[in-house]
């Protein structure tokens, strides 16, 4: 099965439905902001969101009522502080209650790897003598058949759809990422379908340092979406807008200012290009 090339609106409409389990992965780098905004625009709800490090785009999706459940291991604004919309959902159930399936990075990484390998569970030496397992029954124990030692087990994560942003795709739909990749590849391989927005389309891929290449036959849809990771970054294309992350703290602190910002920048924009244009207007 070769990859199909779709518009972002079509790719989201086809792959993300109410109730879908969706992972928009990325570790600070290559966060699929454009795809998250399109999910908000399409007014999806009851989603099970999965990501090691839910950040601003998940804050926005949660604040806009898209999510029912969150599987995660660290939920903050990297280097800045809290995600106020996430906190409001957890602390005050606004705009809706949010069920937490909480892990540690090591456990969630193992869960993605198990998912990618289609094993039902992952094993790690982790979660030792901490309070989390008492609050997440999904964290269990398994005995080593050689040493008798008890190790931590986590259930495999297999999202219905994983959405990534990547630097490039070739004409067949092979996808190349480089730089910090986090658990993007494992999340991609673990998913039932895979949608990738890319900075650029190229004739032939020459994978670079630390390249991750996702063969086209694993890719359900490719979307050409320049700037699709902004305000996060795409190594070799544009930098992380750290000022935006700092600015977001003030916007998201208050429900009213959050809703006004989302309405003007996301709901009223027709696509990611329009979204970026509105930010440019703000800056002028």
């Amino acid at each position: 099965m070769s990859a199909r090339f779709l518009t972002l609106a079509d790719a989201i409409a086809e792959h993300v439905h109410d109730g879908t389990c969706v992972a928009l992965e990325g570790f600070t780098h290559l966060i699929p902001f454009a795809a998250g905004h399109e999910i908000i625009r399409q007014r999806r709800h009851d989603l099970h969101l999965v990501r090691m490090t839910p950040d601003l785009i998940y804050d926005q999706m949660i604040g806009m009522g898209c999510a029912r459940k969150l599987t995660f291991s660290w939920g903050g604004n990297p280097g800045v502080g809290s995600l106020h919309r996430l906190r409001d959902a957890v602390e005050r159930r606004w705009p809706a209650p949010l069920q937490l399936d909480e892990h540690n990075h090591a456990g969630m990484a193992a869960a993605y790897c198990a998912g990618a390998a289609r094993l039902p569970f992952g094993v790690l030496r982790g979660y030792m003598d901490t309070d989390l397992p008492a609050h997440n029954p999904a964290i269990r124990r398994v005995q080593c058949p050689y040493t008798g030692e008890m190790l931590a087990a986590v259930p495999a994560i297999n999202p219905d759809v994983t959405i990534l942003h990547a630097q490039s795709a070739d004409r067949q739909g092979n996808i190349a990422l480089h730089g910090i990749v986090g658990a993007a590849r494992e999340a991609a391989l673990a998913a039932k379908s895979l949608v990738v927005t890319v900075e650029e389309l190229v004739d032939n891929l020459a994978p670079a340092m630390n390249a991750v290449l996702l063969p086209h036959w694993l890719v359900s849809a490719v979307v050409h979406c320049p700037g699709g990771a902004y305000p996060s970054y795409a190594q070799g294309h544009y930098e992380r807008d750290n000022a935006f992350y700092q600015h977001w703290d003030a916007i998201a602190r208050d429900r009213e200012s959050f809703l006004i910002w989302m309405d003007r920048h996301v709901l009223r924009s027709v696509d990611h290009r329009d979204f970026l244009g509105r930010l440019l207007e703000d800056a002028a």
Binding site: G79, E91, H135, V181
Partner: protein, 261 residues
């Protein structure tokens, strides 16, 4: 003596604890500043590992996030995150893990999950991230945290990360491979575990700071180590390099990023 902030002093005190060639698992904020200061002063061969998968990185400016492009660009190599946690951390390849937290108790256990109860939290914090397994596997850990009775507490709201558990050898009996928190670097000096009970004790004060200030900042009855040392004030050279690093960082982060349109 050079005049400096307590935060600068903490950073410099922490950097002095690192040795050349040691492999550090670095967190964002004060730990990142301390590790890079060590690299720029007495430990040029220190190996900095960030959980974003950047191994042996040499950032020119401090990263704002754990995954800034600067860390990838200046790394010996970048590996997927699962490898960092399994093939490097769990495999016992890390000498020193640096941790922060919202709360620490007298046995060096940490909370970065919730204030209040887990199900109906007063304040939901970001959560564990990599901390629990860094604390389990690193040969030793350093904790950096400003002290107030709200952060240095008698009882944690939630144990995100294990230190010495209930003390008196409980950690060793737990089978955790790593050695646990060796030093807590705070804004009045250093706490270290008592050799038998592992209760954190006052081990050193910044020169000019009194024991009473330390006791007032800690939410349990702080005892004194057999010998309470003095942390020498920052040297001019240390401060100069740290301030230049921060100045470069501020300048870099103030540079507006073009919207990619």
């Amino acid at each position: 003596m050079t005049i400096c902030t307590r935060e600068e002093w903490m950073t410099i005190a922490a950097s002095r604890l690192l040795w050349d060639g040691c492999v550090c698992f670095v967190g964002i904020g004060l730990p990142s500043a301390a590790c890079n200061l060590a690299r720029l002063t007495h430990a040029p061969e220190i190996v900095l590992v960030y959980e974003s998968g950047t191994l042996g990185t040499h950032p020119d400016v401090l990263p704002l996030s754990i995954g800034d492009g600067e860390l990838a660009r200046t790394a010996t190599c970048v590996v997927p995150l699962p490898e960092i946690f399994s093939y490097y951390l769990q495999a016992g390849r890390i000498d020193v893990g640096f941790l922060g937290a919202a709360q620490i108790d007298r046995y060096g256990n940490l909370n970065s999950t919730v204030i209040g109860s887990y199900d109906t939290p007063h304040t939901r914090l970001p959560g564990a991230g990599g901390a629990p397994e860094i604390a389990t596997h690193a040969r030793e850990t350093f904790v950096m945290l400003k002290a107030t009775p709200r952060s240095f507490v008698a009882e944690l709201d939630f144990r995100t990360t294990a230190g010495y558990l209930q003390g008196s050898g409980a950690r060793a009996r737990s089978g955790a491979p790593g050695g646990g928190p060796r030093s807590v670097i705070t804004d009045f000096g250093l706490l270290k575990p008592h050799p038998d009970t592992q209760e954190l004790q006052l081990a050193a004060l910044f020169s000019g700071v009194g024991v009473e200030e330390a006791r007032a900042a800690v939410g349990w009855p702080l005892t004194l180590a057999a010998h309470v040392g003095i942390v020498d004030p920052p040297e001019a050279k240390e401060l100069e390099i740290l301030r230049a690093l921060h100045a470069r960082t501020r300048q870099a982060h103030a540079r507006p990023v073009a919207i990619p349109l």
